[in-house]
Symmetry: none
Subunit: 422 residues, 2 copies
């Protein structure tokens, strides 16, 4: 293990404190720093307020090795990051002729006169090294504060990203040679978080609690494994971690380093040359929408049917009228008929059917809100599962879509004969 440096991100901008916008720059900073073996331990957002910026910088410099501030370096009145940083350090601001020259060149390249207002962007905190901005006009600053480092970059994502790569990463490699961070994400489906926690907790001591993160969403659990490795080679420990977790997770592991369960299932079917059709009632198209969010999904998914009414189930999927009358639309029988109907009507190898009561209304004593039946029809038969999901309409719909994908991936791999009938 190599010693890990710590960092914090501070985003400046009153718009980032409203109801709509989030600080996404921190993701770019985190990724860049990970390449240098520096780990982000805190993020903050403050408004365009020099006092708030100064307080945040002061507090953060007390407990991390590196603070990366983004935003508030433009030429307008609400750009006060320079003042806030100077205030925090108790230093003055001085004009940098080098920075002014860069700004002039930038305007010249755009065939525009440099407005007098833009001069302020050449103002640098005393002792700062000016950082050239190859994609915009506001230069950045790298400031040594004792053993610590304070970096101030503009908030425009592509400007900041270029400065991270071209300036900060080489600077950090020089300054703190040693480690980088390697990460592997194990994607699990058909399990719940607490179950996984119980199964893997004996591995915490062996690999370090801080190197293992469990992320749960309805129907999908992600295990993120990470370790700091030497700059050259050294992925051995991560491989050992992955192997240890794999042996515990077995069939519940759906994919490694994949963005989503739908991407993993599409890949699995694509490798087998198999095609898929969906029949959705309570999910109303959510499953097909998620599948088609993945570029290239059309290789596998030929189509789907959203049957929000009994008529649609009968006419578009061929679900027998008697079945709907005898068992109701939310039943094992109808889920099976939907999966089979989708497969048949679209001429695919596999069909998935989902029917349930997403709520908030529509529940009964027998069939409560959250009850969902799902089925997978394939070359060897039709498989079915059911469950009552909690958490409301949106969560039930996500649970249902993931449960159906999970059953499909297991059945297609020959893992879930227990659920079979018909």
């Amino acid at each position: 293990m190599v010693d890990r440096r710590s960092a914090a991100c501070l985003a400046v901008g009153s718009e980032l404190l409203g109801e709509r916008w989030l600080d996404t720059n921190s993701l770019l900073v985190t990724r860049s720093l990970a390449r240098c073996g520096v780990v982000v331990v805190e993020k903050r957002v403050v408004g365009d307020d020099a006092g708030a910026i100064a307080r945040a910088v002061t507090e953060l410099l007390r407990h991390v090795d590196l603070v990366v501030v983004t935003g508030g370096l433009g030429p307008t009145a609400d750009d006060v990051t320079r003042d806030g940083v100077a205030m925090a350090l108790g230093r003055g601001l001085g004009h940098s002729c080098e920075a002014e020259q860069w700004i002039r060149e930038r305007y010249a390249a755009l065939k525009r006169e440099m407005p007098p207002l833009a001069q302020v962007m050449a103002s640098m905190v005393d002792g700062a090294r000016a950082v050239h901005n190859s994609k915009g006009s506001a230069p950045g600053m790298v400031i040594e504060v004792g053993e610590r480092l304070l970096v101030v970059f503009p908030g425009v994502p592509w400007e900041m990203e270029a400065m991270l790569e071209r300036d900060l990463e080489p600077e950090l490699a020089r300054r703190w040679p040693g480690g980088r961070r390697a990460v592997r994400t194990l994607l699990l489906s058909g399990v719940i978080e607490s179950e996984i926690e119980a199964r893997v907790s004996h591995l915490y001591d062996r690999f370090g609690r801080e190197n293992i993160t469990i992320l749960a969403s309805p129907g999908v659990v992600r295990l993120v494994l990470s370790c700091t490795v030497a700059r050259e080679g050294g992925a051995g420990e991560l491989k050992a971690m992955e192997a240890a977790f794999r042996s515990v997770l077995g069939e519940d592991l759906a994919a490694v380093d994949r963005d989503s369960l739908e991407e993993a299932v599409l890949d699995q079917l694509r490798r087998a040359g198999a095609t898929l059709a969906t029949a959705e009632s309570c999910t109303g198209g959510l499953l097909s929408a998620r599948l088609t969010e993945v570029a290239g999904a059309s290789d596998v998914l030929l189509g789907g049917i959203v049957c929000y009414s009994n008529r649609a189930k009968e006419e578009l999927l061929g679900v027998p009228h008697e079945l709907l009358v005898a068992h109701g639309a939310v039943s094992e029988e109808v889920a099976r008929a939907m999966a089979g109907g989708a497969r048949e009507r679209l001429g695919t190898d596999w069909g998935v059917g989902i029917t349930g009561i997403a709520g908030p209304a529509g529940g009964t004593a027998d069939k409560p809100v959250g009850l969902v039946h799902w089925a997978v029809a394939g070359p060897g038969g039709v498989w079915h599962r059911e469950r009552v999901f909690a958490g409301g309409r949106a969560a039930t719909r996500q649970w249902s879509a993931n449960a159906a994908l999970d059953l499909l991936r297991r059945v297609h791999q020959g893992l879930d004969q227990g659920a079979r009938a018909t």
Copy 2:
């Protein structure tokens, strides 16, 4: 103007410090607090580390009236928010029988045994009031710290959101009566942000720039009008603002105080007793998924067809083979046939068809990536529009779904005869 209280959001979770996830809960907290006249002045994220949580809570309580902490209240070893908060306040943790009872009831409702691990969620900071979690198992806490308030809620968004609305908002209204922020949201479709900005900018001086926010997403623009008013009555200024904006926006105004365009369109059709069916190619079910996200959508939406292949277009929608050969799947003719086919096959009053090239692959010189055709079929004919959308696959799909909803709302209101043919 009434004095405004300040707040900070603290999100706890090591996954929120990685390269993938952002703290989105803070947006829900910000919106909820705005309704109470409380303004968020800082946001922070720290990992699952009791010391880091304690330091953040301590620092924030020094300079804001209210700190809202989310996340880290679950039952697993990395859920350490309880410990961090207790550490910050120098208080102990005690078992709450009331909270345990809630947790037991939660497991009982799911027909599952409460695991011993779950006990820890009933552990409360001394002096805290336990807050019931109606959508999940981990209770929250409201803690008085002198004049200030510390609120600790679980990180699951829908759990937290319900607790904000049902518990925190009434609590804040009692505690800090006086000002609240009255807000009205005008939802516009079929327009772009810069156009709207130009049309409304003359109203900024009259009502105050800080009281007007324009939020743009692909195909939908929201104008958020707000003013601080006394708790009782006083909505007069907001009414005047709304009237002034309405007169400028005209037919582009789709709805007032609605969460989404799909909700507005469903309401519009429901009021007319009309039914709807969808036929989706490039959006792959996104439109029907969004429509069915709205509770009660089944009154209006009877079903949909995702025709990701030509076979599906022909067999499920009756799009003539010759039309597909002559014009290609992405064409005005096919969009019209899809809308008509959906209407006919599902026996609805209205049908919507969307076909396009979402990308990243599949574009040609004639039909570039981003080209989308959409059509609406109704009692009086079939209406069509087309456009090349920019911004990539996900944005193009959202644009397309919103464009189709916009055409439907206009045609149904008799506003868009210009697009008609057939």
